[in-house]
């Protein structure tokens, strides 16, 4: 005679991704690598921000970039022009990068040669939020050509990101984007989120962004000293 049995599980669905991400995080910490996960909608300027950032770094700086897209290696080719190691992760359909993809992409690189690992996620404000890549921080990029209520519409990523970069501020005079509202909206989801405003095209605000990176890199180095 059959009966109903209930088994208590209490398990995170993304346990497998989290397991790999945890191992990556431990590896990055051991090798003193600062890993940053850049997330945004398609077209908010992630690649140009990275291009501009890489161009400002000294030759020989121990920087590497992983860039994710569903198709093409266009971004990797743009970013490789700066002369630092860049790898394209082509997901062929997956709307986000996951820890396994990052783990695989890092094979063939000597982690001892890397001190800053920048990961440009697939353009998507929803899915990448769920997938830990072992990063030290998530950075969300929001352009002024998007709505200033984006943080309310997509709370997940604004909740998880350490930093919100408002991009394309050179276009601000031409669009109805309310920066005060955007920042207030982001802070209503995540009160401690840091905010920077930049134009990778004109260079405005980029110095503060470089300083933020520098501070995080120094903090990572001294944490292990």
């Amino acid at each position: 005679m059959s009966r109903i049995a209930t088994e208590v599980v209490g398990q995170k669905v993304l346990k497998e991704n989290d397991r790999i991400a945890l191992a990556l995080r431990a590896k990055f910490q051991k090798q003193n690598i600062l890993c940053l996960n850049l997330i945004s909608s398609p077209g908010s300027g992630k690649t140009l921000l990275l291009e501009s950032t890489l161009a400002s770094l000294p030759a020989g700086d121990r920087v590497a970039v992983l860039t994710g897209d569903i198709q093409t290696d266009n971004d990797a080719r743009r970013l490789a022009r700066a002369g630092f190691p860049v790898k394209q992760i082509t997901t062929a359909g997956a709307c986000h990068l996951d820890a396994r993809m990052v783990e695989t992409a890092l094979q063939g690189w000597n982690l001892k040669d890397i001190e800053l690992l920048l990961i440009e996620n697939v353009g998507n404000l929803v899915c990448p939020t769920s997938y830990d890549l072992g990063e030290a921080a998530k950075i969300v990029i929001l352009s002024v050509t998007e709505g200033d209520d984006k943080p309310l519409k997509y709370p997940g990523i604004f909740y998880k990101a350490d930093l919100m970069v408002l991009s394309k501020i050179d276009l601000a005079p031409h669009v109805p984007f309310d920066r005060t509202a955007a920042i207030a909206n982001a802070r209503s989801i995540h009160p401690d989120i840091e905010v920077l405003e930049v134009s990778a095209l004109t260079g405005e605000g980029m110095e503060a962004w470089h300083r933020w990176l520098e501070q995080r890199r120094t903090a990572r180095q001294s944490a292990s000293a």
């Binding site: 059959s2 009966r3 109903i4 049995a5 209930t6 088994e7 208590v8 599980v9 209490g10 398990q11 995170k12 669905v13 993304l14 346990k15 497998e16 997956a94 709307c95 986000h96 929803v126 899915c127 939020t129 769920s130 709370p155 997940g156 990523i157 909740y159 998880k160």
Partner: protein, 82 residues
């Protein structure tokens, strides 16, 4: 559509947990999903139902409870054991 991947992960968890009860018929899979998990319930249910059709888990249905923040957990499995 990453709810398909999430549904697949849920199925893998259930299969592992019920591997010791081969004759059992899984009826309910309890889940907790928070608003910041980045997972749409309707899409997840749709994908899950598609994936279990015609399999050992075909009678299983998700029972999703609203959770906090970015919780995304399988909490319990209810099955009929012979």
């Amino acid at each position: 559509m990453h709810e398909m991947g999430i549904a697949q992960s849920v199925i893998e968890i259930v299969e592992t947990q019920t591997s010791a009860h081969q004759g059992a018929r899984v009826q309910v899979i309890g889940m907790r999903i928070g608003p910041f998990a980045g997972v749409d319930e309707a899409s997840l249910t749709f994908c899950f139902d598609c994936l279990v059709a015609g399999t050992r888990l075909k009678s299983a249905r998700l029972r999703i409870e609203q959770a906090e923040r970015d919780e995304l957990d399988v909490t319990f499995i209810e099955m009929e054991v012979p």
